[in-house]
């Protein structure tokens, strides 16, 4: 037997023995705690936007656990790497859907729209609430068709109307929108196409000209598109990019001479990673923001004192503290702990099961006073979920890049959500019809 083969077999035997030996000792490690499966992507193409987010989650949970947990219940974080692929995410889902090591799962927070759409049917069978903050499928706001999905806080339809609201404010009112040309330059994908329909509805209502221009993935060539924008005499650009498409777009805009302060980015086009690589071209660029960046919030200061400066943070690159993606993770972690508190107020101070978790998400009510208590004023907008409305009250700020950091230029804008209600609920109804779903039984209380 050659050396290689011996070494290989030895390694295999050790691996099997190790996994067999160590697994039982872990079995009840999580008893009395609340499981939080963290579906991460620290590898793969989207790792740069993932890594600060997981740090935001972990640092906040770390902080809460050090203070004794949520009413005495500690959060048991289990990270599962998905590399942003569906296959790995499914494996993670099956691994944690019934709890792990004695800790029950109350709700699953996801951060991938693809997975969110894919898990719809399984979550319905498993009756596990799926929470996707500021993402996920737009039609899932209809709780009667999607009882287990919660696209909390924000959706792309509201984003479209917030962008139009901001433009109206700039030009002096909605009645001045008539005759303006607003172009949407979008990443040609499911995510990018989400705003075509709402922009059409808005254009019809306010009389501006709606121009839709797709950019094929990954978007490292946009000369033709920006020239088209320039030629058409477009007044404002709603820029819905992702990844490398954002800095390339900003640079190209500068080259053709389109002013950066007339470009409003999508929430995933408005992070430090989007603006900084564009250099001077990004100065005065605007973006919609659900996760305002910054470290001045009270809770950020607490984290800095207790976690970051104490060397217990998850970030390798400390300059990412307070970045858009870090704060995204932080906001989502805060929402999760509030879900636990809501459930515990009804069911008692113990780890919640998925049934209790489902009730808790459906009755989540984070008021402005509560946000102040949490030290998150300015970071998180008030949120109230009902069994019918699975989104809460979407709101976002417009932020501006000053060359080094983002600054908020508005308060929380709400957009014109009622305008879309019929269209969104019609989509949900069409889905229910395609899937032949029975109507949900009315929720008591």
């Amino acid at each position: 037997m050659s050396f290689f083969k011996k070494a290989f077999m030895l390694a295999g035997a050790i691996a099997i023995a190790a996994s067999a030996a160590v697994t039982p000792s872990l079995a009840e490690e999580g008893t009395g705690q609340q499981l939080f499966p963290l579906f991460s992507y620290r590898t793969g193409p989207y790792a740069p936007s993932g890594i600060p987010q997981w740090a935001g989650y972990r640092d906040y949970f770390n902080y809460i656990n050090e203070k004794g947990g949520v009413n005495g219940v500690k959060i048991f974080v289990q990270e599962c790497e998905t590399a942003y692929t569906l296959e790995r995410a499914f494996e993670c889902y099956e691994r944690y859907k019934n709890g792990y090591a004695g800790a029950p799962v109350a709700a699953l927070f996801t951060t991938s729209s693809g997975f969110d759409a894919a898990i719809s049917d399984k979550a319905r069978i498993d009756q596990l609430p799926i929470v996707s903050v500021a993402g996920g499928r737009g039609d899932a706001v209809d709780g009667s068709v999607f009882p287990y999905q919660f696209p909390l806080l924000f959706d792309y339809w509201t984003e479209a109307s917030i962008v139009v609201e901001h433009i109206a404010n700039q030009v002096g009112g909605y009645d001045k929108l008539k005759g303006l040309k607003i172009a949407t330059l979008y990443h040609d994908s499911g995510y990018g196409r989400e705003t075509i329909q709402p922009m059409g509805i808005l254009a019809k209502k306010y009389g501006f000209e709606d121009i839709q221009i797709p950019v094929p993935h990954p978007g490292e060539q946009q000369q033709a598109q920006w020239q088209q924008i320039k030629r058409a005499g477009v007044d404002w650009v709603f820029f819905r990019a992702w990844g490398v498409m954002s800095p390339v777009g900003l640079k190209t805009a500068a080259r053709v001479g389109f002013p950066a302060d007339r470009i409003i980015g999508d929430i995933w086009t408005g992070s430090e990673e989007d603006a900084r690589p564009a250099g001077a071209a990004a100065k005065n660029y605007l973006a919609v923001s659900v996760y305002p960046s910054g470290t001045d919030f009270k809770i950020s200061q607490e984290l800095k004192k207790n976690i970051i400066d104490a060397g217990k943070g998850d970030l390798k690159d400390p300059t990412k503290f307070g970045s858009v993606y870090y704060n995204a993770g932080l906001v989502q972690a805060i929402i999760f702990t509030e879900v636990l508190r809501t459930g515990q107020a009804k069911f008692g101070n113990h780890p919640l099961t998925k049934e209790e978790g489902h009730w808790a998400v459906e009755h989540l009510d984070i008021t402005a006073e509560r946000i102040e208590e949490l030290g998150a004023t300015g970071l998180l907008s008030p949120l109230k979920v009902t069994p019918q409305d699975h989104e809460g009250q979407p709101a976002a700020k417009i932020v501006q890049w000053d060359g080094t950091k983002w600054n908020a230029v508005t308060g929380w804008l709400k957009g014109d959500r009622p305008l879309f209600k019929d269209a969104i609920f019609a989509k949900a109804a069409a889905y229910a019809k395609e899937k032949n779903l029975p109507p949900r039984e009315p929720v008591a209380n």
């Binding site: 996994s19 620290r42 569906l86 296959e87 499914f90 069978i125 499911g190 998850d314």
Partner: protein, 353 residues
């Protein structure tokens, strides 16, 4: 040696070899169709067994083309996507069709596409042929993400599994989806064996080994090559339906991207070319090793080595090293390794008696 062993040995000698084989097949089928769905947990069915089965089937599909007919393809995933999208549209627009017919027609649609993209094989070979099949990969990803008709105008461009049912049986549960996957897999394995042992399979191997010689002895090369593409694509199309609906429950054009094509290719290389069961070894390796590594890291609590990101990257490094080791030490694939191991054990046993 004990008495019972002697009796067994005698019994084995008396009963003919083929009888034993049939018994083994029946026992195997009983295990696959009865014991596994009853005994395995949801986790095992949904995350381990179904993906391994389906990827193994994808390996067989490509192996027919690569291992037996000696043609290359880098576009396996494209034909899988054709199958998945065809099945979705068939069930949506012709709901009266029973599931087996849907599977068959989806496979045939993929086969037709396979013939078209196989045409260059009549003129070019090797590396250049690989490039032309790469064309299929990009073409179909573009088609399915730009023509929303295929996804029933769904805004997110994803298609989700329609209700899977056969003869009134609901196949939505993990066990149901497993039964669907295993029935199709056994049927296709049988078909693959028939093809490989038939005149068609033998002529493919002749072409693979030396096409000039093959044409001299009267094999119609052009027709055989196109048949290879058609049959391989048929298999891939059916596999795509299983991947989309029996495993993921949803898919979009990017589910079947170039990565998936390469995965199928690696399954063939690691499992072994020109084998049928080797593909399942390859698939098990590709699907399960990352999960196993992740589990070991989780269980062994290696957090002292670095943070989560570093550990994840470490896993990928180890996975890569294992692949390289296997390919160096066993270029003929895991199937050859097992074959050698069984002959070695047989020899050792004979030596012991």
């Amino acid at each position: 040696m004990s008495v019972s062993n002697n009796v067994l040995a005698e019994a084995a000698a008396i009963s003919s070899k083929s009888n034993l084989r049939i018994l083994a097949v029946i026992a195997g089928l009983l295990v696959l169709f009865v014991a596994v769905p009853l005994g395995a947990s949801d986790y095992w069915l949904s995350s381990i067994i179904i993906p391994t089965l389906v990827m193994g089937l994808a390996g067989i599909s490509l192996n027919l083309l690569m291992g037996y007919a000696g043609l290359v393809s880098l576009g396996s995933a494209a034909f899988m996507s054709i199958g998945a999208f065809s099945a979705y549209n068939l069930i949506l627009r012709a709901p009266f069709l029973p599931l087996p017919v849907v599977l068959l027609v989806s496979g045939l649609v993929a086969a037709a596409a396979g013939v078209v993209f196989g045409l260059p094989a009549l003129r070019i070979k090797g590396f250049y042929l690989g490039a032309s099949t790469l064309g299929a990969q990009f073409f179909f990803e573009w088609v399915f993400s730009n023509f929303t008709w295929f996804s029933n105008d769904s805004q997110s461009l994803t298609i989700s599994a329609p209700r899977l049912a056969f003869l009134g049986w609901d196949l939505q549960s993990p066990a149901g989806r497993y039964l669907l996957a295993i029935s199709v897999t056994t049927a296709l394995i049988g078909l693959a064996f028939l093809i490989v042992k038939s005149r068609l399979g033998r002529e493919w191997m002749a072409i693979r080994d030396m096409d000039t010689a093959a044409s001299v002895i009267g094999i119609r090369i052009a027709r055989r090559k196109l048949q290879a593409y058609a049959i391989s694509s048929f298999f891939l199309g059916v596999t795509g339906v299983l991947w989309g609906f029996a495993y993921l429950g949803t898919s979009d054009a990017h589910t079947f991207n170039l990565d998936k094509s390469f995965q199928v290719l690696f399954i063939v290389l690691i499992g072994g070319t020109a084998t049928i069961f080797g593909n399942f070894l390859g698939a098990a390796f590709i699907v399960l090793t990352p999960i196993l590594l992740d589990r070991i890291v989780l269980a062994a609590n290696l957090s002292f080595l670095g943070d989560q990101g570093a550990l994840t990257n470490l896993q990928r490094v180890i996975f890569g090293v294992i692949i390289i080791l296997i390919l160096i030490k066993e270029p003929d694939g895991l199937a050859a390794l097992i074959r050698r191991a069984t002959t070695a054990i047989g020899k050792w046993k004979r030596g012991a008696t």
